[in-house]
């Protein structure tokens, strides 16, 4: 007899007792009902990675949802402490949020540059803005594409990936890699822009603008999609701030908070752009539709940013400020936050005077955004839970680090 311990239902770690109820059927007989515990994950088509949601379901309505994470934990912070110099941490930071590696690199490089008080040449700042905004578009394209699949429309996913391929070609032309670039180094960049980059980037911008409108018509304003996402998973403003949610999810709830403007870094103050906020056009403010439309409009904003940065790109040597030996002073510590495509990505670095960092704490936006899921998933249906988890746009590499 095989060991049946594995067969009994998964016990909820918290002291949750399954409730029983009674329903009187039309023939007057009373029928005993019982809630069901279901494991959505870690291997499930729509949990965007190895996330396990243990949900207690009464019929289709979710009574309790407990996320279990840690299936992709690669001890990023322990690795950082064994690196022989700060530059070696950059490839590891890429692998945290593999969908938007450029913004991760920038966050870490920014933190170490502030630790060492290095001033980076103007040209490097502009190229970093171009690269990060292109990466933001590519990351939002993944988010929007997979969100289409979660709601059942398979085709937008492939349209978004065709567009994303064009951005990846731009990246591969510049730094040689398509997903994990190791391009932004501490104090500069690994390669300068190739000659054909500017012209090919301008082609992409003129190609992609009408594509956003097409995607909106196909998916965002489709009545079935609107019916599926409006008034679903409403995240009120104060709960969002209390849970330190950030990025499109926070802006979807109507909070005008964007680190590129509120904790300014690099040359964003020189370019004119406007953070997009959810206004609750199709339902209440802060529902799944708002988060989705904020991502779509942020892609347009990023296009404008890339266009402006390309037109005002100054000249200069991009490897002028790369330090030969990185040795921050003893007991120096700093926490620097920057706006990655999923939200506030912060690095808290403590250095002990040697070349390897003493402690690196990565504050991942997806990890914090996911912690609000149990709060907004109560009372939703299973089909909605899939959409709420999709609208939070989690990448498990960053949640588990």
């Amino acid at each position: 007899m095989q060991d049946t311990s594995m067969l009994q239902p998964p016990t909820l770690p918290t002291n949750y007792t399954v409730k029983h109820g009674h329903i009187r059927t039309s023939t007057g007989k009373t029928v005993r009902t019982e809630e069901m515990i279901i494991n959505m994950g870690p291997q499930h088509p729509s949990t965007h990675g190895v996330l396990r949601l243990e949900i207690v379901v009464d019929g289709e309505i979710i009574v309790e949802c407990i996320p279990h994470i840690g299936y992709l934990h690669r001890c990023f912070e322990k690795h950082c402490e064994h690196m022989t110099n700060y530059q070696q941490v950059i490839p590891y930071v890429d692998r945290m949020d593999y969908c938007s590696a450029m913004t991760n690199e920038w966050a870490f490089a920014l933190a170490v540059e502030r630790l060492l008080k290095i001033e980076v040449p103007e040209r490097v700042e502009y190229i970093r803005v171009i690269m990060a905004e292109l990466q933001r578009i590519a990351s939002h394209l993944i988010a929007v594409g997979t969100y289409g699949i979660d709601s059942g429309a398979f085709t937008p996913f492939l349209y978004t990936f065709i567009d994303r391929e064009k951005i990846l070609d731009l990246f591969e032309m510049t730094c040689g890699a398509r997903l994990l670039y190791n391009y932004i180094w501490i104090g500069g960049l690994s390669h300068d822009l190739p000659p054909k980059f500017i012209e090919q980037a301008k082609d992409f911008i003129s190609y992609f603008r009408p594509r956003i409108k097409m995607l909106n018509d196909l998916l965002s304003y489709n009545e079935i999609f609107v019916k599926r996402t409006a008034n679903v998973g409403v995240l009120p403003k104060d709960v969002a701030i209390n849970y330190a949610v950030s990025g499109p999810q926070l802006r979807g709830s109507g909070v005008n908070w964007d680190l590129r403007r509120d904790d300014p870094y690099s040359v964003y103050h020189k370019l004119n752009w406007e953070p997009q906020i959810g206004k609750g056009e199709m339902g209440t403010v802060g529902d799944c539709w708002d988060r989705h439309i904020v991502r779509m409009r942020e892609m347009e904003q990023s296009l404008n940013l890339v266009e402006q940065a390309l037109s005002t790109l100054p000249e200069g040597n991009i490897q002028a400020a790369i330090p030969k030996r990185i040795r921050p002073e003893k007991d120096a510590e700093i926490y620097v936050r920057s706006e990655s495509s999923r939200g506030e990505l912060g690095f808290y670095i403590i250095s002990d005077g040697t070349a390897s960092p003493y402690r690196v704490k990565a504050r991942g936006p997806a990890f914090v955004n996911l912690s609000v899921l149990p709060e907004i998933a109560k009372g939703a249906m299973i089909a909605d839970l899939v959409l709420i988890a999709g609208s939070i746009d989690i990448v498990l590499g960053e949640v588990d680090r």
Binding site: G70, Y243, A244, I350, S371, D400
Partner: protein, 168 residues
């Protein structure tokens, strides 16, 4: 509001709880972002009242706990560092608490900020710092029956986990 003013207001309200604020003359605030080497150190058992005050006081309104991280200072004491920010006034402050290695007990602030729930579970999981009053303190990243706290500097990886060789 600069960290010095915040420290003075806190000193006025909480006196004893605050050990001191190391406002370093040399550190100074870098061009943007958090001032380096400027934090307020708070005794572990007075933490929750100070945090409640920081969040609810209309002058401060620190409603955004940006990051909570555990640190092992390797000389017998552990620290928990809170990076707070205010979405209203757009100012920032760093709080630190220290606790001895023997009794790693810190008051939990998960009732003050919701995000602290998962951050504290992570600090417990990787450092072993116990947060009193945390609704559901259990391991978040590592398997529940993993022994040892990996991010401690003196952590030795266990040889086998359920019979699976753990690579060193």
């Amino acid at each position: 509001m600069t960290p010095q003013e915040i420290f003075n207001i806190l000193k006025a309200n909480f006196g004893g709880a605050l050990t001191e604020a190391t406002i370093s003359a040399t550190g100074g605030s870098s061009a943007t972002g958090y001032a380096m080497q400027v934090w307020i150190q708070i005794a572990p058992d007075k933490l929750r009242d100070v945090c409640l005050f920081l969040r609810d006081d209309h002058v401060m309104q620190f409603d955004y706990l940006s990051c909570l991280s555990g640190v092992d200072y390797q000389n017998g004491s552990f620290g928990v560092v809170y990076h707070l920010a205010s979405t209203v006034h757009k100012h920032k402050i760093i709080l630190k608490t220290l606790c001895k290695k023997e009794d790693l007990r810190v008051q939990s602030v998960s009732t003050v900020w919701g995000t602290a729930n998962w951050h504290e579970r992570e600090a417990f999981d990787l450092y072993g710092i116990v947060f009193d009053g945390h609704p559901d303190l259990r391991r978040i990243l590592l398997p529940d029956d993993w022994d040892g706290y990996p991010l401690r500097k003196d952590f030795k990886v266990q040889e086998f986990y359920h019979g699976i060789k753990v690579p060193d």
